[in-house]
Amino acid sequence: MNSKELIARRIAKEFVSGNVVNLGAGVPQLVANYLAKDVFVWLHAENGIVGMGKASPDLPPDRYRTDAGEMPVSIIPGGAVIDSATSFGIIRGGHLDATVLGTMQVDAEGSIANWMVPGGKFAGPGGAMDLVSGAKRVIVATEHCSKDGKPKIVEKCTFPLTGYGVVDSIFSELAFIKITKDGLVLMETAPGVTAAEVIAKTGAPLAVGSDLREMEI
């Protein structure tokens, strides 16, 4: 199992039936593939669908039946189409049980920086700032380190913030880390990974949870 699949599979276990969830681009979107069969989750798309399902080969292509990344989707039975004010009302109003987002950095205070690299191309946060400030639970899905091996989990974000003190949990290919008011707490390690390894690869103090467990995938 590759890192992405591991992360997505683990996060999929966080949800229970009835949850309303927004999945960001990349690894977060994979989470939808691993939800248990008996778990019914409302998938929310910023562009105006509550109740997204997989694209159906039986439906003709339709530029208006996509997720917020312009990928084709279907609307599940019971799903609804909404306008942007309602879509972001759902986000800002605390009606999302969770948002799952990738990131460039996340820190020990729960701040997240996932929209801009300093000196990089400027684009804007889209809906990300609403998602992190509004969702009941902000879940970060990320590889533990960047491609050049630097920790993405740091003491204090150096990139421009998407939100300050908003992240609840981080899931990487190595660990599940909870963010508490006292800092980072290691809750689970991936199979074959030691707490020492996670601590070594984390750029901020990481307490080992009293109930540290191996991740079930």
């Binding site: 009835g18 019914f40 669908i49 109740g51 019971g78 609804a80 189409v81 800002r92 009606h95």
Partner: protein, 224 residues
């Protein structure tokens, strides 16, 4: 998926002291069976927010008449003289909002906004008693806080088992905003509950994700 319950079980979820947002314009759109059951179960010390309360015989005016309301928030209560009477005697608190402010306060709570900035009510008793003047963007506004409910009770015409709602004509009114703005949303549904997916996703007035409990009336119109 919404929980489908009989009215007794649904109302048993409402706690004494709850802030209750209730749909209805002159009681039309107020869920009559739910109100009747709230009286039967003697829900006490309620804060009730409704456009007008209507009368002591129809609408949430019945809750006021039953002595169950600690605070009543409305836009007009001309058909419920009992409300200002109780307020004058100090037996119930009465708060008045302009109607547009009332619905925006509820929407602001539902949609995570910090409140309402409106020109309505400037230089009036509303400003003196319940508003706060703020100058922003070169103009004066009345600021009002979001109005969140512990419970919303509304009436809908159609619902599917996923909780998607369709209202009938002016039954819609405040109920769309109210369904977004309460921790527990209970809907009295006139017509039989339909299978999930029966309602065109483009015709849904309130998405099912906002709705917690459906109380099916199965076509028994329960108007007072």
């Amino acid at each position: 998926m919404a929980n489908i319950m009989d009215v007794k079980s649904a109302v048993s979820l409402i706690k004494d002291g709850a802030v209750v947002l209730s749909g209805g314009f002159y009681g039309n759109g107020t869920p009559a069976a739910i109100v009747t059951e709230m009286i039967a179960q003697k829900k006490k010390d309620l804060t009730v927010a409704n456009n007008d309360g209507n009368t002591v015989e129809k609408g949430v005016g019945r809750l006021v008449a039953a002595g169950l309301v600690k605070k009543f928030i409305c836009t007009w209560c001309g058909r419920l003289p009992l409300a200002p009477e109780l307020a004058e005697k100090g037996e119930m608190e009465l708060e008045i909002n302009p109607q547009g402010t009332f619905v925006e306060r509820i929407r602001a709570a539902g949609f995570g906004l910090g409140g309402v900035l409106t020109p309505s009510g400037l230089n009036t008793m509303i400003e003196e008693k319940w508003g706060e003047r703020i100058t922003l963007n070169g103009k004066d506004w009345l600021y009002h806080t979001p109005l969140h409910g512990d419970v919303a009770i509304v009436e809908a015409d159609r619902a599917d088992a996923a909780g998607n709602l369709v209202f009938h004509l002016t039954q819609r009114a405040f109920s769309v905003a109210m369904c977004t703005a309460a921790d527990l949303v209970i809907v009295e549904v006139t017509k039989p509950i339909e299978p999930v997916g029966s309602i065109d996703p483009e015709h849904i007035h309130v998405p099912g994700m906002f709705v917690d409990v459906l109380v099916p009336m199965n076509g028994v119109m329960n108007y007072e």
